[in-house]
């Protein structure tokens, strides 16, 4: 029987306990669904930590491969690619599926290349075929991808965060199988240091009940008082998309998104933000989302409860005025 192999990732808590990350559980759900549609098995791979592997023995998986080696304790692309190449050559899966994380972005394209393949990355849906759907132009358009040519090598897929549901992960029983990998110090060309955070936080965006968030639509730093007045009228905390923080108009601690903060306020008011997936993952859990954007096709409207298609330079001042007079 052919196999869909899902390569999982772990998250460590403050006590350094390992657990399978949420997006990896989503990838496992995607892997199970793909396997079911193909009449295939679904297996998982865990690199580094056996405690994380134990967690998967209660899922409907044909096997949980455990790859333990001192050189897999800390992630490097060389160690991961070498270890996974050995596992894939030994087990010949039909498909290899990853969660689309920063770590996977760092090694999986090269792993696919070793098998003469291109990775279909950040997939948001899998349809019969199999057909893989991913975004183009930062979410403005979608595209369907298929494998072409021979399927003598596995197909490589990574799935985007929040696209598959952990609740769909089928329970069952799975056996752990230790897979011996051959790695030597000389295989590792890069030397990683311990992860760190930049500076002390002075705002707690995660605790803010109302957030006014500004994007590149604001155009110039001189225009920022426009949203500052709106935030003040609403008693809101200010946040921003990445380009605003990249430009230094706001400190990075006000950035919402995959490389910034994840927030879920009562109200998230997005002003001139297009709604790229890296931004959406940080705010789509908000209770109410209002978006102001001049482009009716901006992807932010896909998650907004209330939308205004229009020029923020006309709408924001009127809104601030209306809020102030409603309060008085």
């Amino acid at each position: 029987m052919s196999t869909v192999l899902v390569v999982t990732e772990q998250k460590y808590d403050a006590q350094k306990n390992a657990a399978i990350s949420r997006i990896s559980l989503e990838a496992l759900a995607a892997g199970q669904a793909l396997a079911a549609s193909l009449g295939a098995d679904c297996a998982a791979a865990v690199l580094g930590d056996s405690s994380a592997a134990n967690e998967l023995t209660s899922k409907a998986l044909s096997r949980v491969y455990l790859l333990e080696h001192p050189l897999l304790k800390q992630y490097t692309p060389d160690a991961y690619n070498k270890a996974l190449e050995q596992l894939i050559r030994a087990t010949s899966p039909a498909w290899v599926l990853f969660p689309h994380t920063y770590q996977v972005r760092d090694f999986a394209p090269a792993l696919a290349a070793r098998f003469g393949q291109s990775l279909i990355s950040d997939v948001i849906a899998i349809r019969p075929g199999p057909t893989f759907v991913r975004q183009l132009f930062q979410g403005k358009l979608n595209a369907e991808y298929h494998r072409a040519g021979s399927d003598s090598a596995p197909g490589f897929i990574s799935v985007q965060a929040g696209s598959f549901r952990v609740e769909d992960l089928q329970p069952g029983t799975a056996a752990i199988e230790a897979f011996q990998v051959e790695l030597a110090d000389g295989d590792i060309r890069t030397k990683p240091s311990e992860p760190f955070r930049e500076s002390a936080q002075t705002v707690d965006l995660a605790a803010a009940p109302i957030i006014v968030s500004v994007g590149r639509g604001i155009r110039e730093q001189e225009n920022m008082p426009l949203v500052e007045s709106l935030a003040q009228a609403l008693g809101a905390e200010l946040a921003a998309s990445r380009p605003i923080c990249d430009a230094g108009w706001f400190p990075i601690e006000r950035q919402v998104g995959s490389s910034g903060h994840t927030v879920a306020p009562r109200l998230y008011l997005a002003v001139g933000i297009s709604g790229a997936i890296q931004h959406l993952v940080g705010m789509k859990g908000s209770k109410t989302i209002i978006a102001i954007n001049k482009d009716e096709n901006a992807p932010i409207f896909e998650v907004a409860d209330y939308g205004v298609v229009g020029d923020l330079f006309e709408i924001v001042p009127e809104l601030t005025k209306a809020i102030n007079s409603a309060k008085s």
């Binding site: 920063y102 070793r114 291109s118 072409a148 090598a153 060309r189 910034g260 209770k287 409860d305 209330y306």
Partner: protein, 254 residues
């Protein structure tokens, strides 16, 4: 340090996109093309490294004739010379096939450092740099914000998720994909634009890739909505009044 920056030309950010009639890509007629933004950060990092340590910055761009405008801009910003990898059909290649074409062109230059943006604004696959490293047999790092030269090679600051970072040491030569925001982007000066006219742009015919595509983009379509969005319309004042009403009675924050 000899630094090669692989850059891509993409439709400008605010372009109104429409789907081509065969639904395999977008309608390209009438679009303005600019440098892919993360690639602009890659170029900036290269120029700053050269300013600190000396050496040479080479801009490489693959694509049809229109990409020469992006190469001229790179020269005007300070790149020393440019290579145009000419091809009208690169758009149909998958990541691996395209990286093979780029690797072929890069090999003869044997740079110390190869930089690309971490992903393109159009396809957004974010793989070219990593696959290039694999094909060239070089170590790599991705999502890099800053590069520092060390006694044995380089030390980079890499972005992790949720506001975390990490330093990584690499030997040279190496391939890095650059994340936005590590530097301020420079503008081309009038002087730079003038000087660019005297700099060399070499045109090389792109090699035909030896391998057939293994993945194929078969259909472009508009995304479906995940949520029922209530659109508010009217004059700015009318919209403001409706929003205030929602904020008061539905969202209950006023």
């Amino acid at each position: 340090m000899k630094i090669l920056v692989a850059i891509k030309q993409v439709p400008e950010r605010d372009a109104q996109l429409s789907i081509a009639s065969d639904a395999r890509w977008i309608e390209e007629d009438g679009l303005n093309y600019v440098i892919n933004e993360p690639d602009a950060y890659a170029l900036e990092e290269a120029l700053q490294l050269r300013e600190q340590h000396g050496g040479e910055v080479i801009a490489l761009c693959a694509g049809p004739d229109r990409v020469t405008s992006t190469l001229r801009e790179a020269l005007a910003k300070g790149a020393d010379r440019a290579i145009h990898l000419a091809s009208d059909t690169l758009g149909t290649l998958d990541t691996l096939a395209l990286a093979l074409v780029l690797a072929d062109a890069i090999r003869s230059e044997s740079p110390d450092l190869i930089l690309t943006g971490l992903q393109s604004d159009d396809l957004g696959l974010g793989q070219t740099g990593v696959v290039l490293a694999e094909l060239l047999g070089l170590p790599h790092s991705t999502l890099v914000l800053h590069v520092e030269k060390t006694a044995t090679g380089i030390r980079v600051k890499r972005e992790l998720e949720d506001g975390w970072f990490q330093h990584i040491d690499l030997p040279l030569p190496a391939v890095l994909t650059i994340q936005s925001g590590g530097n301020k982007l420079r503008y081309a000066t009038l002087m730079g634009i003038k000087k660019a006219k005297t700099k060399e742009t070499r045109t090389v015919e792109a090699a035909t890739p030896a391998t057939p595509a293994t993945v194929e983009l078969t259909r472009v379509f508009l995304p479906e909505k995940q949520k029922q969005t209530q659109m508010l319309t009217g004059s700015p004042a009318e919209i403001a009044a409706q929003l205030v009403e929602k904020l008061r009675s539905e969202v209950r924050v006023l």
